[in-house]
Amino acid sequence: MYSEKVMDHFTNPRNVGEIENPSGVGTVGNAKCGDIMRIYLDIDDKGIINDCKFKTFGCGAAVATSSMATELVKGKNIEEALKVTNKAVMDALDGLPPVKVHCSLLAEEAIHAALWDYATKNNIKIEGLEKPKDDISEEEVTETY
């Protein structure tokens, strides 16, 4: 069902855990399956994401996309981090089964939520970032299963 990369990131997830006093935290839930993901960001003065950690209550795809997403944003600046879409995460994982596409949205949304938290705390505006919804609505997900 899952690609080798997914299985790798699922069984040895990178960056599991919490960051104390994070620059931003985002927690999102998935309306479709009820799963939950939390992302912690440590962002330095130059706006570089120095560290990123996650905690996920979710399926194998959710864990793997969390892991991959944290890897992808680490070391990036905020602008670049915004480009880590669910599509980018899926590609990096060699794809997901159609029924699991929505899981990858969790990762994207969690990063956005953490960035929003950072922006709010620091009273800045991040170009292209919208206020995250509380959860991912069903409409956004097109499933072919």
Partner: protein
């Protein structure tokens, strides 16, 4: 462990070698069509009749009341749809439960779209049907009560005798989906007032793609699959002779080994439950502790999600499931676990382990050890868990 540990016998079972052995001659040698009139085909007819007799005897049923189908789903569909069609003039109300298999639930939805009304009775927190609700649900227009014998997820055995009596007193037909119970429990359709009963071969070490429906003599049910005159004009299609022979053989073995096997499985199952509940925090057993199939254990582990658990067990060579196999593509938490009152996120972290006659103590111990490790690992990753 190198060997695979298969603990998903509620999803499907291995066909017993004796069953395959019994089927083999009917593929290449005695392959005739039982409906043909030449001698060559009469041995097939005889083989089909023998299987029918074995199954009838196992239920204390009349031989001619057993009809072969392609499995539990077809049997369930047939029972509900044909009863609805045959008795619509009497009434258009059907009663079932909230914890039925989708083969019943989705057929009920289909009937609802076609002008029937369906009442879905609740179960209590142990997963046992609320008989008082059932009684209250009965209307003058109720034509059928369909309640499963034992649940496929949490293994709870329903009060079939009481339901049968209620149905009989109110002159309502009673169908039971016994797909999980047949071959594990003793069933007497007369003592239990059962009018129709569904079963499926692959759930009791028989072949896949074959099952039966018991229909008590005198019921007006017509066929569900229309065509040739097979199965006394009630189920068209060339008989699946090897499948039927295998079904009969599996039924024979299941009945002969029922008591001993049940005791053995229940003992291991109890050990499994005991260890999990004492060694893993925030774990609960779903379904009634005693009124459950001898081979079924169903747990919820708070703060973790089911699929992750399953995949990690799989990596340790342990085959288990969460909810029913045929809906594992689905994202909704089990309707059965919701029906017994579990909140959404706990329903999501359920694990079903179902044993077979081949399950060993060693396998159970290894499995519990692994569950412990995995649950701990997943909890350490969970945003819901604070230790």
């Amino acid at each position: 462990m190198d060997k695979k540990i298969y603990l998903d016998n509620a999803a499907t079972t291995a066909t017993r070698p004796e069953v395959v052995e019994a089927m083999l001659p009917y593929f290449t040698e005695m392959f005739g069509n039982p409906s043909s009139i030449y001698e060559f085909a009469s041995q097939n007819k005889k083989a089909v009749d023998e299987a029918r007799t074995t199954i009838a005897n196992s239920l204390n049923a009349e031989i001619s009341d057993i009809y072969f189908t392609a499995g539990g789903s077809e049997s369930d569909n047939w029972a509900l749809i044909a009863t609805a069609e045959a008795y619509a003039s009497k009434g258009k109300h059907i009663i079932t439960s909230k914890i039925e298999h989708h083969a019943i639930l989705h057929t009920c939805e289909y009937l609802e779209k076609n002008g029937f009304e369906v009442t879905y009775i609740d179960v209590d927190e142990d997963g046992i049907l609320k008989l008082d609700e059932l009684k209250k649900a009965i209307r003058p227009t109720t034509i059928l009560i369909s309640i499963m014998f034992a649940n496929n997820e949490i293994g709870t055995i329903q009060p079939i005798k009481e339901i049968g009596e209620i149905a009989r007193e109110n002159n309502i037909l009673f169908h039971t989906d016994a797909v999980q119970a047949y071959g594990q429990l003793n069933i007497d359709v007369n003592a239990l007032n059962i009018d129709m009963l569904s079963a499926s071969g692959h759930k009791f070490n028989g072949p896949k793609g074959i099952g039966f429906l018991y229909i008590r003599k005198g019921l007006k049910l017509k066929s569900f699959i229309h065509g040739g005159g097979q199965e006394r004009h009630r189920r068209a299609g060339t008989e699946n002779v090897p499948g039927i022979v295998g079904l009969g053989k599996a039924a024979e073995i299941a009945m002969a080994t029922l008591e001993e096997r049940g005791q053995k499985e229940a003992a291991l199952r109890d050990m499994l439950i005991q260890r999990v509940l004492t060694e893993i925090p925030y774990a609960r057993l779903n379904g009634h502790r005693a009124k459950r199939l001898p081979n079924n254990a169903n747990f919820s582990f708070q703060f973790i999600e089911g699929e992750s658990l399953l995949i990690m067990l799989d990596m340790q060579n342990i085959c288990a499931s969460s909810g029913s196999a045929c809906t594992s593509g689905s994202l909704d938490p089990s309707h059965v676990l919701l029906a017994i009152g579990l909140p959404h996120e706990i329903a999501h972290g359920s694990l079903r382990l179902t044993l077979s006659h081949n399950t060993t103590e060693e396998e159970i111990n290894y499995t519990v050890d692994k569950i412990k490790e995995i649950v701990a690992k997943l909890r350490s990753m969970s945003p819901l868990y604070e230790d």
